[in-house]
Structure formats: C-alpha cells, structure tokens
C-alpha cells in the first residue's frame, strides 16, 4: 500500500499522505493521465518534497491553479516552486514550417553578416589607402612567421607523403604499359596544379584560420574589440588587414615549397619502385611541367590564403558568448575554409581552362 494517494475528479485534484522523491515516478505517471487541475487540495498531505512540488508546477504550467488546505511549511514550499502566480506556459510546439522559417531567417542573418563584413573590409582598404585609418602592419612579420615558418615542417611532410602515395598508387598501371617514366608527368602536373595548393591550404586552414578565429573571438568576448572601438581604432583595418596580407604572402610560398616536396615524394617512388634514375625523372618532369602549371597553383593558393584569413577573422569578430562561442567560431572557420577552398579551386580550374592554361 503506497504512502500516498491521488484522488479527486475533473479539475479538482486531491493529494493524500506522503509524497516523496522515492515515489515520484509513480506519482507522475498518475498525474500526467489526469486533466490539468484548477484546484489542488493538499489538506490531507502529511509530507511533500521539492521533487513532487516541481512535478505539480510542471502540471499546472500556464494555468492559475489554486492550492487549498496547505499547512504553513507546504505553503512555503509551494510558493518557492509555484510562485505567486501561474508558471509561464510552455512555448507552443513549433510547426515544421515555422522551424524552416526560423532557419531561413538565421541563414539570412548570417549572409547579412558576411555582406556587412565585406563592406567593412572594402571601407577598411579605402581608409587605409587614404591614411584615415591605420593597419597594424608591424604585426605582419609575426603572422608570416607563425603561419609560414612554424607551419613549414608539416607542409613539407604532408606534401612529400602525398607525392609519394600518388606515385605509389600509379606504379602497377604504369608498369603494365611499360610507361614507368610517366610517373614524373603524373606527379609533376597533379602536385603543382592541384595537390600542393590544396594540401597546403588545408593545413593553413587548420593552423592559421582556426588560430585567427580563436584569437579574435577571445578578444571579442573579453571586450578588447570594444576597447579598440572606444579608442577610435577600427578593428577591421587594424586586426584583419595584416592577417589577410600575411596569408596572401605565406600561402603561395608554402605551396611552392610543397611543390618541391611532392615532386621529391614521387622521385623516391620512381627510383625505388620503378627503376628510374633521378636524372631521368627530373628530365621528364622538366619536359612536362610548364611555368603555367606552377603559377596557376600559386595564384590559387594566394586566393585560398586570402579566403582563409577573411573567414577566420570574420568568425572571430562575430563571436558571441564566452568560451563556447570561441569554440564554435573556430570549428565553423575550419568547415567554412574547407568548403571555400574546394569551391574556389573549382572556379579557378574552370577559369584557367577557359583561358587555355
């Protein structure tokens, strides 16, 4: 026999006995089957704890239910949980169409942010050119060092491995046709035109793009960006332009070095697995890879660098909230960077091909 009972009919609910956390599950299963009460009689309650009172609060949400017969200690507990008036009603369940509308509004808001940022950036370039605003050019060498020199080992290693794996995957097919020497052509063209710019941009996104978002995001949440504004220093020219310039310089340089590392990866496979000589591999490479292969890759990588810096800085400057906001901005930066790199790569490839390059 439970120590509690739930009686009453219609919108009148009567609670009896001891209603505690131990029985809360059973009590709730009874309460939720009943219509929402207008009157709750607790005159025969000997004990009721906070958990059950919280369940009553949930049950009467949005309805001005009256508690009758409450002893002083129960009345106090009820006041704490139920408050003086009715608890605010639950927000109505959002229909699918409303959710779609909400998502569209958020998307439009986010696109608006992008447009606003682009406008601020254009204004910043003009104001720096007219010497109305200053950019913190002194910080450019530091960003070049961080994004370039510090990232060089990983860029070289990954591009070497990509060249190595690409060549290795081709060995069987090339041997089959006695076309071993063409490994130099395959690796030379694919590395300089596509792989080195892409791999380098991915590394730069993960290292520098994310770092920019985290740095500026932290500055934003700790009000440092606001402090700059109050000193009459516009954040976009001061903080964004140096980072954009740094990555526009660093990305092509890293890509060029990545080209060399990737070609060397192919050379190692050519010499060790396909019986080529170094001289033969390099001679074939020189005959196949033309200057436009290299510079189109470098132009692409400069564009990747600029887009990575802009995405990282925009995410940082629009960070909301505290640490979680910084984390979200950093993640979004990497995702947006990867997306934009692939889109830009596609556009560049189509445009370069259109010009016969």
């Amino acid at each position: 026999m439970p120590a509690w009972q739930i009686l009453g009919r219609g919108d009148r609910l009567e609670l009896v006995g001891e209603l505690r956390l131990d029985d809360a599950a059973a009590i709730w299963s009874v309460l939720r089957e009943r219509p929402t009460p207008q009157t709750i009689d607790v005159s025969r309650v000997t004990l009721i704890d906070g958990t059950v009172m919280a369940l009553l609060a949930e049950l009467t949400r949005g309805v001005p239910a009256e508690l009758v017969g409450a002893r002083p200690e129960i009345a106090e507990l009820a006041h704490l949980y139920l408050g003086a008036g009715p608890i605010r009603p639950r927000p109505p369940h959002e229909a699918a169409l409303a959710r779609l509308g909400g998502a569209s509004r958020r998307l439009a808001h986010s696109l608006g942010d992008v447009v606003r940022f682009a406008g601020e950036l254009a204004a910043a370039v003009v104001s720096v050119a007219r010497r109305e605003q200053t950019a913190n050019w002194r910080s450019v060498p530091m960003f070049i060092e961080r994004a370039g020199a510090d990232g060089l080992p990983i860029v070289l290693l990954l591009n070497f491995l990509v060249g190595f794996v690409g060549a290795y995957q081709s060995t069987d097919q090339l041997r089959q046709f006695g076309a071993n020497i063409y490994v130099a052509d395959i690796i030379g063209v694919s590395v300089t035109r596509e792989l080195a710019p892409l791999i380098t941009a991915i590394i730069v996104s993960g290292r520098s793009g994310a770092a920019f978002a985290a740095e500026l995001g932290t500055m934003r949440v700790s009000e440092e960006i606001d402090a700059l504004r109050t000193m009459g220093i516009a954040p976009v020219p001061y903080l964004v332009l140096p980072r954009v310039v740094a990555l526009a310089v660093v990305a092509p340089v890293l890509t060029l070095l990545g080209d060399v590392a990737g070609v060397l990866g192919g050379l190692v496979v050519g010499v060790t697995s396909l019986g080529l000589t170094s001289r033969g591999y390099l001679t074939e490479l020189r005959s196949m890879v033309v200057a436009s292969d290299v510079w189109t890759g470098l132009v692409k990588s400069a564009m990747f660098g600029i887009s990575i810096a802009l995405i990282g800085c925009r995410q940082g400057l629009t960070t909301r909230g505290a640490a979680a906001g910084v984390g979200h901005g950093t993640t979004a930066t990497v995702v947006e960077c990867l997306f934009s790199i692939v889109v830009l790569d596609t556009l560049c490839t189509v445009v370069f091909r259109g010009f016969g390059l």
């Binding site: 200053t134 500055m219 009000e223 440092e224 402090a227 000193m231 009459g232």
Partner: protein, 240 residues
C-alpha cells in the same frame, strides 16, 4: 554646471523584443561622478555601452556634449579591463597615443609612463596584463582610458571582484582623478561602499518596473520611501 550627457525617453536593451528599461531620462552634469545602479541584468552595462557609442539606443535620444574632435573624447574602462594580452601594460597605454597623435616614440613612452604613475603602476609597465592582479588590471585600464585626455570617463563596475581594501583604493583613485583632472565620470556599480564613497548623483535602474526607479544623490536614495530602493540599499531580498 552644464549637462554633458542628456538622455531622453531612452529604451535600453539588446533587441526591441528584450527591452530592459523604457523611458529613461536623466542628465549627467559636467564634472560630477555619476552612478548607474541596479540589480544584475538591469541594463546598467548596456546603458554604459550606449553612452560609449558601442550600442544604439532602441528608442529615445542620447546626446553627449563632447568636443567634435578628430580623436575619441571619452575613455572606457571595461569590467575585466579588456587590456590587449599580447602587449605590455605600457604598450596598451601607448596604443591610442600612437593612433591619434604625431608624437615621437620617446614622447609617447614618457606619457604612457606618466599615466601609469598616475594610477600607481609605474613598476608594472613592462609586464603583460595576464601577470597583473585584478585591481592592477583595472588601474591599467583606467590609465589607457585616460591616455587621450578625454573629458568623459566611463567605468564599468570598477570594484567588482576586488577585496575591500583594493576596492576602496580604487574608489579613492577615481575621486582623485575626477577632481584633479576635472573629469566627468559615469560609473556602473552595485557596490554599496563605492556608491556612498564616490558618487555625486546616481540613477537606480529597476528591471521589474522597467524604469528608472529613483535618481538623486546617494543620501536622497538612502532616504527614499520606495520599497525596492530600500531593498537595494539595505541588501534585503524582495521575495522571501
């Protein structure tokens, strides 16, 4: 004494759907230390950001009678200092001077050193902000806010998170700076000690009635018969 800040029918809040205070009207007189008081989330810091020009009023009019200079004519000390972590304390103070003056580097360094001496931080000029205590960070932020000699200084909860002695020292510093430099100071605070120690006049924002509940000198507010003003000044809970 003329008014430096005039607010008429101001609506304070982040969005039109979340208005915290409506029809706020008050004036800040030139040369006074003016307090914005209220419970947490009453809109105090938002109002300060509006005066600083960082947030637009949702409605109403906010006029600042400041010189139309090419450089900023107000200084702000943010709640956590907002010093730039990658720069030393001295470089933080030098930054606005580098941006807005043609002074040579040695003069800028000298001015920054003097500003830091003013707030008792001359020994910490080459230190990074992360190495400073909370009170020292706020002093450094005040020095930076004063770098361009603004007539108006905005301070967001200068005493929060400080021990009573450091808090009292900072209060004393604010009064000394305001009186000796002839500054107008707007302070956001809910520290009762600071209210009595430094404020000439103040307003009390109330998020329940969404209005300015009272305004006047701290003595006048202490003597107010409005129950919620009494709750605020006697630290008594409103709902028990």
């Amino acid at each position: 004494m003329t008014d430096l800040v005039i607010a008429r029918d101001l609506a304070i809040g982040w969005t039109p759907e979340a208005v915290l205070i409506e029809h706020a009207s008050f004036e800040v007189r030139r040369g006074e230390i003016f307090g914005i008081l209220g419970r947490s989330a009453a809109g105090k810091s938002t109002l300060l950001r509006m005066i600083a020009g960082l947030t637009e009023p949702l409605a109403g009019e906010l006029v600042l009678d400041l010189p139309h200079d090419h450089r900023p004519s107000l200084g702000v000390m943010f709640q956590q200092g907002a010093l730039f972590g990658s720069m030393t304390v001295a470089e933080n103070v030098e930054l606005p001077l580098e941006r807005w003056t043609d002074l040579p580097a040695d003069a800028i360094r000298a001015i920054a050193r003097a500003k830091l001496r003013l707030v008792g931080l001359e020994a910490a000029e080459q230190v990074l902000p992360t190495e400073l205590s909370g009170g020292m960070r706020k002093r450094a932020a005040i020095a930076r806010a004063l770098a361009l000699e603004p007539p108006l200084l905005l301070l967001d909860e200068p005493s929060s998170g400080l021990d009573p002695i450091t808090s009292a020292e900072l209060d004393q510093l604010i009064v000394i700076l305001a009186r000796t430099l002839g500054l107008t100071v707007v302070v956001v605070t809910h520290e009762l000690g600071s209210i009595d120690a430094i404020l000439d006049r103040c307003i009390l924002l109330d998020n329940e009635s969404r209005s300015i509940l009272a305004q006047g000198t701290p003595e006048e507010l202490h003597a107010s018969a409005i129950p919620r003003v009494q709750h605020f000044f006697h630290r008594t809970p409103e709902h028990v």
